[in-house]
Symmetry: C2
Subunit: 298 residues, 2 copies
């Protein structure tokens, strides 16, 4: 393609940028970035792109526009470019929730224009363009959202785009997406935040210095709990219903485990501890994690 | 020293063995191992040790005996050697809980003999002598349990021993130990098991194939949830009281987070998500984890 516009150039946006540049997917790369700090970082990093200035003339010529900004920034960013959009441009986003946000955004979107949503399952606990990586998406899943109203041509173009970026494609509707990621991603993040919060509370209450002994398990959770707070607030709020259901199921299971421990029900607890082990094996077979003890980190 | 006896030669026991051999800490290394499978692995791996056979003549001559077996095996193993023990031998263990198990074991222990407990904070999700590693303990904390009844000489010898193994030493009493590790290790493991269990339940209930999308967070928990089930049942049961308190505090905090999400309390949630980020920084400063995004695994 000739022109791509990346809106929001943090970890994900700058990784898209680097990959598009490296693989020569677009002749020109434009960015729209509201943080002056990020823009100066991008210049310092010498990332190959132009900061979008002439909205009126440039936006209508875009082949693809990709929202890589926080969910809570979508509306504000869309406002800037909405009246210059046209139906030929493939418009997509990389957001972690779909159902509510797409309903909201489509109400604002200029008539006749298409928004075809994506979600590459990639990222890490660090934020900002300096952590961007042209290999971030390699062999990762990318969910494409298909609905009745989806533009088939745009879906096909996005399919090709993400494949060139390095992803494997899977098609879902918004509801399936939000159900699945409530469990595989949103709940784990919430739980990680909560366990670190609980450790802090405990440290305060008992006046114990315990963080330095975190190598026994806590440190793993602390990595996820260091993820970007704006991103995660937005996710928790925009997938609220599914996350609350997941929390309820989680608490129900945790209370059952507590009961097993209270009454020392060995059979039940061993059974539970064995089935979870099989999940790890499956995850490694599916190449969703490295096959090394302790993530190979020591 | 001349003779060390390692009881239980799985991941931890065989790591002690390899380190003792590599650093020439003992002239002779004996092992007591009830699993025939482990013994044949140890032979195949050509680990430098002798399988203890002549209890009556060999046990009294040991300089050090180190229990590296599951907590629930302590009594049975002690029974075999108890009457041959003497007060000169430094007797220790590497168990993950202290208060209850030490009370129990000291009741069984031959009169006049000392048990001085240790806990090196090292391990991983894999089990068995084939995963042992002579670098496992390098720069890790080792807790030494000091009580009124502790033998000062033995404590000093253990201090020297674990330092030669590669550890940094910290002294605690049994209660401090069990409070701290309930939060930094036992609760995280329990939570990891519970989140994987919850994902499995959800997968079954909704007939969704979700494990393959675990890269968004779940995979981290699955590693810890793949830990040895006997070891963790024993820990949960023998630190029951503290773990139940930790679960209660965790559920209280999780319900508060659920409420924040329900009413979209942005300020409160952002505040919580920011303080947990600071813990990650502290953990890295304290060198309790690698300073690489995503554990450097990709």
């Amino acid at each position: 393609m000739n022109r791509i516009l990346i809106i929001g150039c943090g970890l994900i946006g700058s990784s898209v940028l680097r990959t598009v540049y490296k693989k020569k997917i677009s002749r020109k790369i434009f960015i729209l970035e509201k943080s002056k700090n990020n823009i100066s970082k991008i210049k310092r990093l010498n990332l190959k792109c132009q900061v979008l200035k002439d909205f009126k003339n440039e936006v209508p010529k875009m082949d693809m526009i990709i929202f890589c900004t926080h969910l809570s920034n979508y509306e504000q960013a869309l406002k800037k470019i909405n009246k210059f959009l046209n139906k030929k441009t493939v418009i997509t986003d990389v957001g972690s929730t779909k159902n509510l946000i797409l309903k909201k955004i489509k109400k604002k979107l200029k008539k006749g224009v298409f928004w075809t949503s994506s979600h590459p399952i990639a990222g890490s606990e660090v934020s900002g363009p300096e952590f961007g990586d042209s290999n971030l998406f390699k062999n990762k899943w990318c969910v494409l959202i298909k609905e009745k109203s989806s533009n088939k041509k745009h879906l096909k173009k996005l399919n090709q785009f993400w494949k060139r970026i390095g992803c494997k494609i899977v098609i879902m509707n918004t509801k399936q997406h939000d159900h699945i990621f409530a469990i595989t991603s949103h709940l784990p993040h919430l739980i990680a935040y909560n366990i670190v919060k609980t450790a802090l509370d405990f440290e305060k209450k008992r006046k114990l210095n315990l963080i330095k002994f975190s190598a026994g398990g806590l440190r793993d959770f602390s990595r996820i709990a260091a993820s970007n707070e704006i991103m995660w607030r937005d996710i928790f709020f925009s997938n609220q219903k599914n996350i609350i259901l997941a929390i309820n199921l989680f608490i129900k299971n945790l209370k059952a485990l507590k009961r097993d421990i209270s009454i020392k029900n060995s059979n039940k607890i061993i059974k539970k501890l064995i089935i979870t082990k099989k999940v790890r094996k499956k995850i490694i077979q599916l190449k969703q994690d490295v096959n090394l003890p302790d993530f190979g980190r020591n």
